[in-house]
């Protein structure tokens, strides 16, 4: 009886092999992508040259910063479709402030703050008006894009030359930085976000509401307030992505970044995030963003047409999620 009861209540033996596969999966994907292009290319040295790596990293920054915010949202069981429009809006806000001659730091803060504000509005629409995240942020996708065009007077906003324009340059000044300041900032934010998610009460509650919202509420967590916080925080990051976008273009363009939200969501999902909540990691999402950047860059270097890239990325997303489902069915029987 004792032995039997033990067996019945015992926990299932975790499959370490699968556990590690899950953790390493995105890295394996990244290695495979790089390997394929190295093999295909006539001059593999060029693909892996420091110069090209700097370009790839700089191209990753916008999606990567967005993916940090999106990872939190997706872990909490939410989603934000307005990222592309918010990037355009906050880029325009930053550019307008710069062209009005305000201090560059103030312009950057304004851009980031507008992102946070949009996030809070999204959060309130979801919690107070009880609109599902998909629809609430779909609405915001239109609203933010419209406001960006309105503020910019339907044209691009040119900006004076300040340090803001140098955030994503290929050769940073001073040269000992090695990588553009925006890349270092992204790395720092990723590390901070990973620690917050793992080691703070806020972070663990983000996982809790994504895993079982009813249980979290029953345990006395004010889920609504927490959601507004998460959307606001993610919004700040989307605002920063907008500043980076403006820096790269050296102008505020209200039509830019249409569809970027899909790249950002794809990065999170490739990195192991689950759209049903409770799962995801910053590290995975960063690798996911890198996979997409290497794919884009590699396709360009190969001289393949844009549509080829789109097809490949589409296929990769579906494969990544299919592998994930297959893996889950093994880990949690």
């Amino acid at each position: 009886m004792t032995a039997e009861a033990k067996q019945a209540t015992s926990v299932q033996t975790p499959n370490w092999w699968w556990r590690w596969f899950a953790r390493l999966g995105p890295f394996v994907g990244l290695a495979v992508v790089i390997l394929i292009f190295v093999v295909l290319m006539d001059a593999p040295g060029r693909f892996l040259s420091p110069f090209n790596l700097r370009i790839v990293l700089a191209q990753t920054v916008i999606v990567a910063i967005g993916a940090i915010g999106m990872t939190m949202l997706i872990i909490s069981g939410g989603i934000d479709l307005s990222v592309g429009s918010v990037i355009a809006l906050t880029g325009v806000v930053t550019a307008l402030n710069l062209s009005a001659g305000r201090a560059p730091l103030l312009a950057v803060v304004a851009g980031v703050a507008v992102g946070g504000l949009v996030g809070i509005v999204n959060g309130l629409a979801i919690t107070r008006l009880k609109v599902v995240p998909f629809i609430a942020t779909l609405g915001m996708l239109g609203i933010a894009r419209g406001m960006a065009k309105w503020l910019a007077g339907q044209q691009t906003v040119n900006v004076p030359d300040t340090w803001v324009n140098g955030l994503l340059v290929t050769f940073p000044d001073p040269p000992w930085l090695l990588l553009a300041p925006g890349i270092w900032l992204t790395l720092l934010l990723a590390v901070v976000a990973a620690i917050v998610l793992r080691n703070t009460i806020f972070g663990r509650r983000v996982f809790a509401i994504g895993s079982n919202e009813a249980a979290a509420r029953a345990c006395g967590i004010s889920t609504d307030r927490l959601k507004v916080w998460i959307y606001g925080l993610a919004g700040l990051l989307f605002g920063l992505a907008g500043v980076m976008q403006m820096s790269r273009l050296r102008q505020g363009d209200p039509t830019v970044a249409a569809g970027t939200e899909l790249d950002v969501i794809a990065a999170v999902v490739i990195g192991g995030g689950s759209l049903s909540g409770g799962e995801g990691s910053i590290l995975g999402s960063m690798v996911g963003a890198l996979i997409m950047a290497f794919l884009r860059n590699g396709c360009q270097q190969m001289g393949w047409a844009n549509y080829v890239q789109e097809i490949i990325i589409g296929v990769i997303i579906v494969i990544a999620v299919a592998v994930d489902r297959w893996r889950l069915s093994r880990v949690v029987a």
Partner: protein, 501 residues
């Protein structure tokens, strides 16, 4: 002065009256058993006490002060913790995090992993379950282990009143003993416990006093010591068992219509062999998680069978054939999960009733004859005494019992030869139960074969011709109903003696 006092609490959901005057009182350091049938209003009352629902009428006093919790948070701060019947854990989080969820200790907002581990171990130690380590992800735990975690959560919250809603339904014998030892310790430290269960023996072992709920009213209360089980049952049911199951003639059964040999569908179902005859009601008893639902689902093709032999009307069935194919061979299925799987609540009564055999109300070429559908549904509404305004009414607007009758009406409309019923009367009112019992008896009399899974033994004893018991994925040998006693069924169900029988 009692710690908690309820006076004439009432609550209705739309047309359904869930509570209609419940009064009870609870003293410090005592265990009060709240007994009643499924659907008597026990869970609604627990939800009101734990702040998830607000009563429509009545008064609650805690420590002599008016108690009106606005939310689960408020109830928790007042020292009332609910252990849910349906588990409410976050599968992606660790055991320690789940135990402390909502009450995490922090240093400047940083999650204190070491402290959490220590606190979790403190409560886990009580249960002597070394295999439940605090850092384990809950998704990896078995159902009883999860239940232990859930109970640990309430203890960690240092509640003054702990509400336990069927806490032993997925626990092993040993764990039940540990739970009782724990309840006694809580009691000694002054904590009061409201203990919900319909296992009378269990209640007798742990409770000091009882309150019986029937149809949303508190109908009796008193000391546990001075009352017999028969009295309690009579008060729960409001009439004697014999009155519920009148006129059921026992059948020896006709030709074999379904034959199962050594069926297995891991992990839930390990082995089941039986045959089902026309005109009989074949009962399957067993505890939650014993594999009884998995058996029914595998028979109907909702879970793939791994091995064994299955034949319907002497013709073999492919182990992996789909439900649709088995439905055409004459199987009909009633799910235990009415809301999730049994009915499409947003659709009309007519659509739900005719869904499995829409062809019966079609003109051909796939065109529905709506008036024929309406007419056929109206006939079944009449026959089963379903309280619906019209066939077009959305099923959602009906009470639980009437929804269940719609599910039964669908089986009648389908005209299935073999009816697989999984908990056909769970959570519905007595009146609807009696009507469903009558329908089942009528179907068997008309030569159908009925396989009925139930966790409510009296209804199996009242209806079934033969009975088998499921325990840990294995089905015992089937025997005529008069060769069983409730005790012998329970013995096998909890796996005490040679389970195969």
């Amino acid at each position: 002065m009692p710690l908690l006092e309820l006076h004439n609490i009432a609550k209705r959901f739309g047309p359904t009256v869930a509570l209609d005057g419940v009064s009870l009182s609870l003293d410090q350091g005592e265990v009060l058993a709240l007994i009643g049938e499924n659907g008597a209003g026990k869970s609604t009352l627990m939800n009101i006490l734990s702040g998830a629902l607000r009563p429509d009428a009545g008064e609650m006093h805690l420590d002599g002060h008016t108690y009106t919790p606005a939310s689960p948070v408020a109830a928790r701060t007042s020292g009332i913790a609910l252990i849910h019947q349906e588990l409410s854990l976050c599968p992606h989080l660790s055991v320690a995090e789940n135990i402390l969820l909502g009450a995490e200790r922090a240093r400047f907002g940083w999650f204190d992993w070491q402290g959490a581990r220590r606190q979790a171990l403190e409560v886990l130690d009580v249960f002597h379950h070394p295999e439940i380590r605090p850092e384990r992800r809950v998704a990896e735990l078995s159902a009883p282990a999860r239940q232990v975690v859930e109970i640990c959560r309430a203890i960690a919250a240092r509640a003054r009143i702990v509400l336990m809603d069927e806490p032993t339904s997925s626990l092993q014998r040993e764990d039940v003993e540990r739970l009782f030892a724990l309840i006694n310790r809580l009691k000694a430290s002054g904590t009061a416990i409201i203990y919900i269960s319909h296992f009378l023996e269990e209640v007798r072992q742990i409770a000091d006093r009882f309150t019986v709920l029937r149809d949303g009213r508190s109908v009796a209360a008193g000391e546990m010591a001075g009352v017999t089980n028969d009295t309690l049952i009579a008060q729960m049911v409001g009439r004697t068992i014999e009155q519920l199951f009148a006129h059921r003639q026992r059948h020896a059964g006709g030709e074999v219509i379904l034959e199962a040999q050594e069926l297995s569908a891991p992990p839930g179902l390990k082995s089941a062999s039986f045959e089902l005859r026309r005109g009989e009601v074949f009962g399957i008893a067993g505890l939650m998680g014993s594999g009884r639902s998995e058996l029914v689902r595998a028979l109907y093709g909702l879970e793939p069978l791994r091995s064994g032999r299955l034949a319907i009307k002497q013709r073999p069935v492919g182990l992996r054939s789909a439900a649709a194919a088995r439905l055409r061979r004459g199987l009909g299925y009633l799910s235990e999960d009415r809301k999730g799987e049994g009915l499409a609540l947003a659709l009309s009564v007519a659509d739900n009733t005719t869904l499995t055999r829409m062809r019966a109300c079609a003109k051909g070429w796939g065109w529905l004859d709506l008036s024929r559908q309406k007419q056929q549904t109206a006939g079944l509404i009449e026959q089963l005494k379903i309280k619906a305004r019209a066939p077009q009414q959305p099923t959602r607007a009906l009470s639980g019992g009437n929804q269940q009758k719609v599910a039964v009406a669908r089986l009648l409309h389908q005209d299935a030869d073999v009816l697989l019923l999984d908990e056909p009367t769970r959570g519905i009112d007595i009146g609807s139960k009696v009507q469903i019992y009558e329908s089942i008896a009528r179907l068997a009399d008309a030569g159908k074969a009925v396989l009925m899974v139930s966790s409510y033994l009296p209804e199996l004893f009242g209806l079934a011709d033969r009975l088998a018991v499921m325990s840990r994925g294995k089905l015992s040998a089937a025997r005529p109903i008069d060769e069983w006693t409730p005790e012998s069924v329970m013995k096998i169900a909890i796996g005490e003696s040679g389970a195969s029988g």
